[in-house]
Amino acid sequence: MKTKVLVVEDDKWLAEQHERVLKTDYEVKVSFSAISAIGDIDDFHPDVIILDVLLAGNTAFTLLNELKSHSDIGSIPIILCTNLASDIEMSDVSHYGVKRILDKSLMEPGDLVGAVRSVT
């Protein structure tokens, strides 16, 4: 059974690109907002969440707080994938379950697969 990866990304084409990269190795679902991601986590039961920070509607912190408040889903490893990576310290977000921070502007497509592999 493939590892399930939920991609939370409001840029439709970037989400499509993430899915393109991941779908060979993983079962992938995309959410375009933090709010829809909350529902998708219940339905999809992801093993890993790849999360953009500045999302349409609410920032990633809405989702991170929601996840943290539930014991059953609070342990899902999270990979932040953001253009703001240089502004975020791991020590500030690790208590939300964030395991890796990827810089969208610097990463190679394969880095996404590598990051998922490293947290599962």
């Binding site: 084409w13 500045l54 912190f61 253009n83 975020i88 969208k104 502007s105």
Partner: protein, 246 residues
């Protein structure tokens, strides 16, 4: 200050300085399209892509680049606004908006969305600079594209308000409602623009800041209306009395 709030402010802070868009704001807004173009290009370079997929990715690169170039052009225009001479003249917004719809339709279609102009029976004229007005509406439309739901239609609307003295050009999107907190912030910032206008969380607000500058240069103003299923961003400009003289 909570740690989360601190991070949020750090992410969004320093965007504007002395009333002018900062290099940080511009860099932030350009990073997203450039990162996407880079990812798609690297993927294409890898070669393991079908012809149809490659064609789709090349189209996305082209449209994303055009959008980024529009922003750079707006930034340049905004920076030179005080120095540059520009004419204001009576303009038929219907024709201008039809041109914008024609230009943006490929981008919207590629995103699975539509853009339409709500047609009017009677023409209206307003006083504006054609180039600045076009940039404002393009800007609102780009903003709406980011927020509109899949398969939805963004509508450009032209209305006379204030007993016909003001013409309002609005861009209405149908997507998630703005939260009350977000709406209060937006309202207060729009009321005292030009300054940082965080339309939506994923944006630094640079586009709307530039739009407010362009509107002010034409003695107009921008604003927003919150709907239960989206938002309208609009520009108000003086109506031309030319029609009444005909």
């Amino acid at each position: 200050m909570s740690r989360e709030r601190g991070i949020n402010e750090k992410l969004r802070g320093g965007v504007f300085h002395d009333g002018l868009p900062s290099i940080i704001a511009a860099a932030h807004e350009l990073k997203s399209p450039l990162a996407l173009v880079r990812q798609l290009s690297l993927m294409l370079e890898s070669g393991d892509i079908s012809d149809s997929e490659a064609k789709r990715m090349l189209r996305q690169i082209s449209l994303t680049s055009e959008k980024a170039l529009r922003l750079t052009s707006d930034l340049t225009r905004s920076a030179r606004l005080e120095d540059a001479m520009f004419n204001v003249e009576p303009i038929n917004p219907q024709q201008l908006c039809e041109d914008i719809v024609h230009e943006l339709s490929p981008l919207f279609r590629a995103h699975g969305r539509n853009v339409q102009l709500t047609q009017r029976k009677h023409p209206l004229l307003l006083i504006a600079n054609r180039d600045l007005l076009r940039r404002i509406i393009m800007n609102f439309s780009d903003n709406a594209l980011n927020y509109a739901g899949t398969d939805s239609t963004v509508r450009i609307q032209i209305n006379a308000i204030n007993s016909g003295k003001t013409i309002r050009l609005g861009v209405r999107d149908y997507g998630p409602a703005l939260s009350s907190d977000m709406w209060r912030t937006l309202r207060s910032k729009l009321a005292s623009s030009p300054q940082s206008v965080h339309a939506r969380p994923q944006s630094s607000g640079l586009g709307l800041y530039i739009a407010s500058q362009f509107a002010e240069a034409m003695n107009g103003s921008i604003g927003a209306i919150r709907h239960h299923d989206g938002a309208t961003f609009y520009v108000d400009l003086h109506a031309s009395s030319q029609l009444s003289l005909l």
